[in-house]
Amino acid sequence: MNNILICDDEQDIISALRIYLESEGMNVTSASNGKEAVEIMEGPQGKDMQLILMDVMMPVMDGISAMAEIRKKSNVPIIMLTAKSEDADKVIGLTVGADDYVTKPFNPVELMARVKSQLRRYTMLGTQNTNNIVNTDTITVGGIELNDKSKEVTLDGNPVSLTPIEYDILKLLMTHKGEVLSPRDIYESVWKDTVIGAESTVAVHIRHLREKLEYDSANPRYLKAVWGHGYKMGD
């Protein structure tokens, strides 16, 4: 039973989110502006909150100020809901203390996945479960976990089925996390062959991988395209 605080001035959005979250068996508390959210967090319920979904533009007190206020006392995960999609707005939110952001209008499935991901991280890594067995065969990037022994890949704990080529590409990108690999590099190390006009094949496979591993393949979190250079695994 996870306690989640939703803070949004739009009552309909709260209701919709409540339906989604409660169907996953979560306990939802709501606030209609930043000030209420801060008050709840400072009240008796505050200690039990495991996640906050925070809208940015709200009357009385906006989401950024509220996050800054909450962050003074709590390290509870906060997912920012924002109508603004500009990079600058995202950066401000993440700097002030948000753990993740979702731009409106959001895809309910994606939001749920992110909520779960944050909860898992908070409850498992952030608290008692520190004596995690570090498996050398397992590579983890964000919610993606790749077990090289069993050739299994899971996303947020859910198994994902990949073709051997897709698996090899994913493994290559995960082991070179953060590095930009050109299509030619990827082709040569996965296909073990030199490319002759087959670079677009890599792009096709990456897109397939993205469809399987990303909630919003137009705005990928993991399999990022660095246009004109290649691909990289982001976190």
Binding site: S85, P108, S182, A203, A225
Partner: protein, 842 residues
């Protein structure tokens, strides 16, 4: 070498240089001084003798100082010299070994040697003696100080007669009762001048002759005493000349005198003797005389005595006189107020060899001579070595100048930054002062304060060396930095002048470039000027010439100002026309009528700017409005999307309801995309996007795009044919926005291409351009122009049936152009072609 790069290294070098220069100068000076006494140019004996003669001079002072006590004193008797004193003038003719000639001597029978010191001194009651025990004592030399120490004074005599010796070819004057030869510079005996002579000069000499004629007749008439005077003169002449051959013996003279009791008027009388005028012997000649005061005149030979008869008497006279003017001579003679003594002095060799008289001048002279001889060859060697070391250290110093221990760079310090020409002139000036001071102080070394003078000399010398070293440092560093010329005031002045000329020339060129008729106007000006000049020249109206020149200059200046002002206005107008709204006319220095014009232009310019600013502002507000509204739309859209999703999850049996829900889902997603594109389009068109331009591999980007779209193309049954010219091709752009362009163009193919056709994507590599060509066959009839397609919300079919909002091409165009590329669309029937061009980079 590097060890001298430090400050202390350079100081040591300069100290070495100064010290050895000092040594060089001192030893060189010593050499010169000793050579003055003949150290190098004479034998040892001669050198020693020179010094002994100097010692003799010192003795003389001592001996003469005892004139009042008969030239004897305790001190003198102790000295190891023999000396004697002769009264009077005529030493050369006196037998020095005849003791009776001396008023005092202590020779005791010793023979006066050949090289004895003999000199004549004149002293009087005011003569002051400076006495010293030291030979060559710098502070107190033995010294006789009296007025006219050299005893000769200049005396002038008026000429009593003039004559010419034809045999000896020499002119003589008679004055002070004796003949004097005249230096050939004072007369010109020739036939170049009229034999009449100049009246004035003849007049003077006629007067002289008549005077001597009357004195001669007086002599005859007067008593014996006066006559005796004449005879005594004659005797003295005979004595002096030691020559009695052709001259009348005194008896004969007496006879002559008595015989010539009658005076012959046509003869010229000199000292009572009659001579024929030269005119009786010579014709056509005359004698021109030149006085020192510039007076000159030609004397007729009637007034010149023929002295040929007494040639033998005259030929040995060698006491030339100067002619102050044509009737006066001047000569140096002994001062009658002085007492003259000749001192004869030579060493007592026995006593001298005993060498126990160290205070004695001869002993001292010998010791000085021996010392000088012992260093005779050492001194030049020392001078040479010191010179080499000084020059060597100077060279090292100049090499080290500007270097620092820490760095290899040449660094100019304060001294080196002084402009080179200023440094040169300043050093020249300072060294000149130093040389003058040095000359004065070195000259003063002989004076009383000799120690102080040497000290001052050394100080001045060192100061001069330091100034010289500082200059050499300045010189060396500026050479090393190749700034000998550039770091000079002259160069700076030249630079300023050159810059002024350059600006002037630029302005001239600018004016002639802007105003088409400039050259013709100036040519016209010159033509008119030339015509005017010719008009003035022909009509001879010279009076207005200066006024005309001034008028032309003033006219030229005004003409230039008008042209310049006009050029500025025109240039600004052209710029404004070209769209540079920042351009304004510079108002200063404009004639009033053009200034008004320029002001009006500036008003137009600021008006345009205000309008532009307002337009920009309203554009920005429009963008902000679109963005804000779009954000506000997003919130309700979120609810719509969420509730559609929730509804889809409900069990709905009604198939129509399901169908409607599907429409809702599709349209809400389309709305979402539309809003995002709208925000993006307005941001780009208002220039609100920051581009992060970098080098991009176009081949990679194109392949990535094709890969991204492969499935959607397949789904629409479109075959994509690609032709990529090379493996790698690079361009400069922001990769994310360039992807947006490709995304939009590829989306267009997916959306609008006729299914079951081929679409083509080519990458062509040109000389300097990269060119992407996207071609497809439209599924709808393209009833629209390419230009219209680029505008916002315009789609090819005009019916807005398919998905897509008409923003894609507009966004692609804005982004491409903002990143420095171009995008062109062309429509040929159903063939749609988009050409994207970027500059190629390596």
């Amino acid at each position: 070498m590097k060890r001298f790069y430090t400050k202390s290294g350079k100081v040591i070098l300069s100290i070495i240089c100064i010290i050895f220069s000092l040594i060089f100068s001192a030893s060189f000076l010593a050499c010169v001084l000793l050579e003055n006494w003949g150290l190098y140019s004479s034998t040892r004996q001669e050198f020693k003798q020179t010094l002994r003669d100097m010692a003799g001079g010192d003795y003389s002072v001592w001996i003469l100082s005892e004139a009042n006590s008969g030239f004897q004193s305790e001190k003198l008797s102790q000295m190891n010299c023999y000396y004697g004193v002769i009264e009077g003038n005529d030493v050369p003719n006196i037998d020095l070994n005849n003791t009776s000639n001396y008023i005092y001597n202590n020779f005791n029978g010793t023979k006066v040697p050949e090289n004895a010191y003999v000199d004549r001194y004149g002293i009087d009651k005011d003569t002051h003696f400076t006495l010293s025990d030291k030979f060559l004592a710098p502070s107190r030399p033995n010294y006789i100080d009296s007025y006219n120490y050299d005893s000769q004074i200049y005396i002038t005599y008026s000429i009593d007669g003039i004559g010419y010796d034809i045999v000896g070819q020499k002119a003589y004057v008679y004055a002070n009762n004796q003949f004097y030869p005249i230096d050939s510079g004072y007369y010109n005996y020739s036939n170049e001048n009229s034999d009449e002579g100049t009246p004035n000069t003849n007049k003077i000499y006629s007067k002289i002759w008549s005077n001597s004629l009357s004195s001669a007749s007086q002599d005859i008439n007067e008593e014996d005493e006066t006559y005796y005077v004449v005879e005594e003169y004659e005797e003295s002449v005979i004595n002096a000349e030691d020559e009695t051959v052709d001259y009348l013996p005194s008896e004969a003279a007496e006879n002559a005198q008595s015989e010539s009791a009658q005076i012959e008027e046509d003869k010229l009388y000199i000292g009572g003797r009659a001579f024929n005028p030269l005119s009786t012997e010579v014709d056509g000649y005359s004698m021109e005389l030149f006085g020192d005061d510039g007076s000159e005149g030609v004397l007729s030979l009637d007034n010149v005595a023929d002295l040929t008869d007494i040639h033998a008497e005259l030929k040995d006279l060698d006491e030339y006189v100067s002619m102050d003017n044509i009737s006066t001579i001047g000569t140096y003679e002994d001062n009658p107020d002085m007492q003259y003594y000749s001192v004869v002095c030579f060493p007592n060799e026995e006593k001298l060899s005993a060498a126990n008289h160290t205070n004695d001048f001869y002993a001292q002279a010998d010791s000085v001579a021996n010392k000088a001889l012992s260093v005779k060859y050492v001194l030049p060697v020392i001078a040479l070595i010191a010179f080499i070391i000084a020059i060597g250290s100077l060279i090292l110093f100049m090499c080290a100048a500007g270097h620092r221990k820490e760095s290899d760079e040449i660094v100019a310090g304060f001294i080196e930054k002084i402009p080179t020409d200023i440094a040169l002139i300043g050093t020249f000036f300072a060294e000149f002062i130093v040389l003058v001071c040095l000359y004065e102080s070195v000259n003063d070394i002989g004076s009383l304060d000799w120690f102080f003078s040497i000290f001052i000399s050394v100080v001045v010398f060192v100061a001069g060396m330091i100034i010289g070293l500082l200059w050499s440092s300045n010189f060396a560093v500026n050479i090393k930095l190749h700034k000998l010329w550039s770091n000079s005031i002259l160069a700076k002045i030249c630079g300023v002048v050159a810059k002024w000329f350059k600006t002037f020339w630029q302005e001239v060129r600018q004016i002639s470039a802007t105003v088409k008729w400039t050259k013709r106007i100036w040519a016209l000006f010159i033509v008119i000027s030339v015509i005017e000049f010719l008009a003035i020249f022909i009509t001879g109206a010279d009076g207005i010439f200066l006024f005309w020149v001034l008028e032309k200059i003033a006219f030229a200046i005004i003409l230039r100002r008008i042209l310049r002002s006009y050029a500025r206005i025109k240039a600004t107008a052209m710029e404004l026309a070209a769209g540079n709204t920042e351009s304004q006319v510079e108002l200063n220095g404009m004639p009033l009528f053009l200034e008004e014009h320029a002001r009006a232009m500036n008003d137009i310019q600021s008006g345009i700017n205000v309008a532009l600013a307002e337009r920009t502002k309203s554009e920005r507000m429009k963008t902000e409005l679109i963005t804000n509204v779009s954000h506000d739309i997003k919130t309700p859209l979120t609810s719509i999307i969420n509730y559609v999703d929730l509804l889809e999850k409900e069990d709905i049996d009604n198939s129509k309801a399901k169908e409607y829900l599907e429409v809702l889902d599709r349209q809400s997603k389309r709305l979402k995309k539309l809003i995002e594109d709208l925000i993006e389009a307005s941001k780009i068109s208002s220039g609100n996007v920051k581009f992060n331009i970098e080098k991009i591999n176009a081949v990679v980007l194109l392949n990535q795009s094709i890969g991204e779209f492969s499935d959607r193309l397949e789904a629409n049954e479109i075959t994509l044919v690609t032709s990529i010219a090379s493996q790698d091709a690079y361009l400069q752009a922001d990769n994310r926005y360039l992807w947006r362009v490709f995304d939009n163009l590829m989306s267009n193919i997916v959306k609008y291409a006729q299914p079951k056709t081929r679409a083509y994507v080519d990458l062509e590599e040109g000389e300097s351009k990269l060119r992407f060509v996207f071609r497809n066959t439209s599924k709808e009839e393209l009833n629209i122009s390419a230009e219209e397609l680029m505008e916002r919300f315009v789609r090819g079919d005009k019916s807005r049936y398919t998905d897509g909002n008409g923003l894609g091409l507009s966004i692609a165009k804005s982004l491409t152009e903002a990143m420095g590329g171009t995008i062109n669309l062309s429509i040929d029937g159903d063939l749609f072609k988009a050409i994207l061009e970027f500059d190629k980079v390596v």
